[in-house]
């Protein structure tokens, strides 16, 4: 019974994770009990075997591959934004005339309301749309950094 309880603590004992009281308890038991001592020895050997496994090195292209993934991710997000703006633009083609028609019907067509609608349609959306397609936002990487080098490479290949 006592051995069973001690054995559950052996891994933590070997990993140095027991408090002082428990540590002393396990240690005292191990000095008296050959079977548990053998078990502790086996557990220690497992850690030793596992620790001995070969480690690998990341390939030389690790960072370049990462930046390539980041670049395509950013591009994907830009495309999403672009699509949303497209939808918005088309929505205004439908909604605006409808609003104008509604205004006409209700008869609140004031003198400068028509001008306001026209200018809104032609300027603001167009500008926002154009700036969202560009890759300007990626250019602010610090000079000399890997990311900056990577983006300038991509720009050149375009």
């Amino acid at each position: 019974m006592r051995c069973k309880r001690i054995r559950k603590k052996l891994a933590a004992y070997l990993d140095g994770e027991l408090d002082e009281r428990q540590k002393a308890l396990v240690k005292r038991h191990l000095l008296e009990c050959a079977k548990c001592r053998k078990e502790a020895d086996l557990l220690g050997r497992i850690s030793y075997l596992l620790k001995d496994r070969p480690r690998i090195k990341p390939t030389l292209s690790f960072e370049a591959d990462l930046w390539r993934r980041i670049y395509s991710l950013e591009k994907e997000e830009t495309t999403k934004k672009e699509t949303t703006l497209y939808l918005l633009k088309w929505a205004t083609y439908i909604i605006l005339p409808a609003a104008v028609a509604a205004a006409l019907i209700i008869g609140v067509f004031g003198e400068n309301l028509g001008e306001k609608i026209a200018s809104f349609e032609s300027i603001s959306l167009e500008e926002e749309y154009l700036s969202s397609i560009g890759l300007d936002s990626f250019r602010d990487f610090p000079p000399g950094s890997l990311s900056q080098a990577y983006f300038s490479l991509i720009e050149q290949t375009k």
Binding site: A12, I56, E63, R69
Partner: protein, 201 residues
């Protein structure tokens, strides 16, 4: 006081990409190796490690230094590893009908390989055989036991750190590591004798 890595992450959050590059440089090898020990395939390990840093990149704007940076980083890696295992398990149930070499067949293949490779020294083969067996033993562990023992043995993390990474109590980390060792003990029995090992206590 914030750890220096969290400070780098905060700098990255405010737009300094060089800080991100520093973090990648510092931790890529660790992360590749943790995943490699878990998955057992070099290429896959590197792909997943890239995915880990991609997630760090994407999370920069939401980043809040609640724990040590490495705890957060290992957590991302551990979650990816666990997801990967789940994906593979699903795939395996589908393709189970395909012929997978039985254990006996594999042993025979190994014996044949040893018999046919005359010039290479015996101990190199023994090491290969041993590595295969250890790999298999690690693979046979339930995913959470596996990740816990990898973090403990290869990264030297404390039970408390592992509990934060796996979102569980210290007690359950202790239980997992105890069970992992019990499972490994059976599978590695042939290699637990006669190793050059000088005791752990």
């Amino acid at each position: 006081m914030l750890d220096p890595d969290s400070q780098l992450m905060l700098k990255f959050k405010s737009g300094d990409t060089i800080s991100f590059e520093k973090l990648v440089k510092k931790y890529k090898e660790k992360i590749v190796n943790v995943i490699y020990q878990f998955i057992g395939d070099k290429e896959e390990a590197e792909d997943l490690a890239i995915e880990v840093f991609l997630r760090v990149y994407r999370a920069r704007k939401r980043y809040k230094p609640r724990a040590k940076f490495t705890t957060w980083l290992y957590k991302i890696a551990a979650n990816l590893c666990l997801n990967e295992i789940r994906k593979k398990a699903r795939f395996q149930t589908v393709s189970l009908s395909e012929s997978i070499p039985s254990e006996a067949e594999e042993k025979l293949m190994l014996i044949e390989k040893i018999a046919n490779s005359s010039p290479s020294p015996q101990d190199i083969l023994e090491e290969k055989e041993r590595n295969t067996l250890i790999r298999k033993a690690i693979d046979s562990l339930p995913a959470k036991q596996r990740i816990a023992i990898i973090l403990q043995i290869y990264e030297g993390l404390s039970y408390k750190e592992i509990s934060k990474i796996l979102n569980c109590s210290v007690k359950s980390v202790e239980r997992r590591l105890y069970r992992a060792r019990t499972n490994l003990k059976e599978k590695l029995a042939p290699y637990l004798k006669g190793e050059k090992y000088n005791g752990g206590f």
